[in-house]
Amino acid sequence: MPNRAESVPAKLMDLASIIRLQNHDGGWPYRNGGSSWTEPTVFALLAQSAQPGDRQSVERGLAWLRAAQRQDGGWPPCPSVAQSTWVTAMAALLPADQLGRACHTNAINWLMEQTGKETSLAYRLRNELIGDGAGADETHRGWPFFPGAAAWVTPTAFGVLALEKARRHQAAIAVEQRILVGREFLLDRICKDGGWNYGRSNVLGVDAPSYPETTGQALLALNQVRSAKVDRALTAAQDEARACQSSEGLSWLQLGLQAHGVAAAGPARKLECRRLVDSAVSILAQAALGGRNIFLE
């Protein structure tokens, strides 16, 4: 059984360094000197909820996020993009009392309206009209990265996690139902090796292998789900952790496995965190190994 010290990456941007990367406008960039983006801003804020952070930094970050929210309730990847996307689910992972109740509710409402194009009503109608009803399975509705595209594993995992958080504070049948179909989507996209890749388990009759980062994210979203498929995924995730070549991949596996009460032994070689996001995810994984999984609170 690995201990927390063993699983700390060889090189890691600590929380103080992450805070120092904050831009003057209150958001965080993906890379030093870049402009502020939604995803790294959310990760920097989540990391500050896993470890004692800087209150002023958190307030500025939240203010940036509130200002970046679009009229439709979603968030763009960065303010220069005029489109709400999957990062809305990331923002909705922040506690509603921090983000603001109205902000959070609007985000959840936006998420509830999103679905992969392959299961949208318009697309299914079109397929019915041209006599191709195959593949239009209403029970497997996930989330796309970008509106108008198909659903994939990562945005679906975060969509489920965001709705789960909302459900804990405000139960609603529609939300509950969407969590279920989102999880069905994930279980439907499982790879033959037991884990998940981006969301295509078979390409032209050839099985595709799974990835550590998406396997961890899917397991995280499938917390509390008990099934033979999940059991097999847990075994696959432990195997992937031992062979993992990416610190971010390992962190997601640790988070996903911890959500099921399983500890992961990492690879023999120490992995490096090279950017803000993989460092922040590593901080969140360390917190989970210590018993506090921020995604499930």
Binding site: Y30, R31, N32, G33, G34, S35, W37, E39, P77, C78, S80, V81, A82, T85, W86, K117, P144, F145, F146, G148, A149, A150, W152, T154, P155, N197, Y198, V203, L204, V206, A208, Y211, E213, Q245, S246, S247, E248, G249, L271, R274, R275, D278
Partner: protein, 318 residues
């Protein structure tokens, strides 16, 4: 390059598609395209080979900003999937030797978010000094919106990384591979990596819905200041671009007209270039004909190596 948007980048964006489209029409397309085929291996001599090829093609990059764009796809220590790091380093050194003001390596993988870890596993950190300082992850770069003039696809605009928009020359360094959706992936398909995953996701599925072939042709038109060096030392046949088998060919294919370079690669792979839809869209059938491309170096017949094709693409065999 890389730290925020500069004046040059802002100008490039403001000029938008009008400038880009005109460059495409008035640039290299008027002359007969020249394509070099040279024998090469992953040895020290590849540095001299690349430098010589750049001189032969009179690539003028003095004082210019060059972006070298390899194909990084998957964790693969065998580098059958990814462009070999030695070729990438040779290109960087070659453009520096020609007086480029700035040479960056940039890529935005389509399936994996962990780009630097991919590069590490592919040997880029080990082979290329200060790799991390030279590298821009195009998936996470700052972006600007560019309108597409007369697009082949249904898209009217795309967000592009400012690093790519601010480049004077983008050098496509793909692997010579078959592709299960479009037949072959070469220098033009490699430009999918210019589309930011940070906006469109992993995969960049918006491009798939808009038509893969059409989007390849649109990207080719959107970035007309380009050059291509195809890594055909060891390519991939069969179920490419990820799950195929290594195919040693032992060549680099080089030129300033990507449609001509890709058509030549297809002939080497014994694929009919006029059966590749995105090539037909971007070049038109006559421009793909062998007599309309000036071949330099090895003759195609001397290096021709039939690549295995999966069943749906048996009809593209030359």
């Amino acid at each position: 390059m890389g730290n925020g948007i500069t004046r040059r980048e802002a100008l490039a964006v403001a000029a938008g598609c009008i400038t880009l489209t005109r460059c495409s029409m008035l640039g290299a397309r008027s002359a007969v395209p020249r394509v070099s085929i040279v024998r090469a291996g992953y040895t020290q001599s590849i540095y001299d080979t690349v430098r010589r090829l750049l001189v032969e093609h009179r690539v003028d990059v003095r004082g210019k900003r060059v972006v070298v764009k390899p194909n990084l796809v998957e964790f693969d220590p065998g580098t059958t999937i990814n462009t070999h790091p030695m070729l990438v380093h040779a290109a960087v050194e070659g453009f520096r030797a020609l007086g480029a003001a700035d040479v960056r390596i940039a890529e935005g993988p389509g399936h994996r978010r962990v780009t630097l870890d991919l590069a590490d596993a592919a040997g880029y950190f080990e082979t290329i000094p200060q790799f991390e300082d030279l590298f821009t992850d195009l998936n996470l770069d700052d972006v600007s919106q560019v309108l597409l003039r007369d697009p082949f696809s249904r898209l009217t605009s795309l967000y592009f990384p400012n690093t790519a928009l601010g480049a004077d020359l983008i050098v496509s360094l793909p692997k010579m591979k078959t592709h299960h959706w479009v037949g072959a992936t070469l220098s033009m398909k490699n430009f999918f990596g210019l589309v930011p995953g940070g906006i469109y996701g992993w995969p960049k599925n918006v491009l798939h819905w808009a038509g893969i072939d059409e989007c390849i042709a649109d990207l080719h038109a959107a970035f007309p200041r380009h050059f291509a060096i195809v890594d055909g030392v060891v390519g991939m046949e069969g179920n490419g671009p990820i799950q195929g088998n290594p195919k040693p060919v032992g060549v680099l294919v080089v030129g300033g007209d990507m449609t001509a370079v890709d058509a030549t690669c297809c002939r080497i792979m014994r694929i009919n270039p006029s059966m590749i839809r995105y090539l037909r869209l971007a070049a038109g059938p006559s421009r793909l004909e062998e007599q309309n491309i000036r071949q330099i170096g090895e003759a195609i017949k001397n290096v021709q190596t039939p690549f295995d094709l999966i069943e749906p693409f048996q009809n593209i065999r030359l």
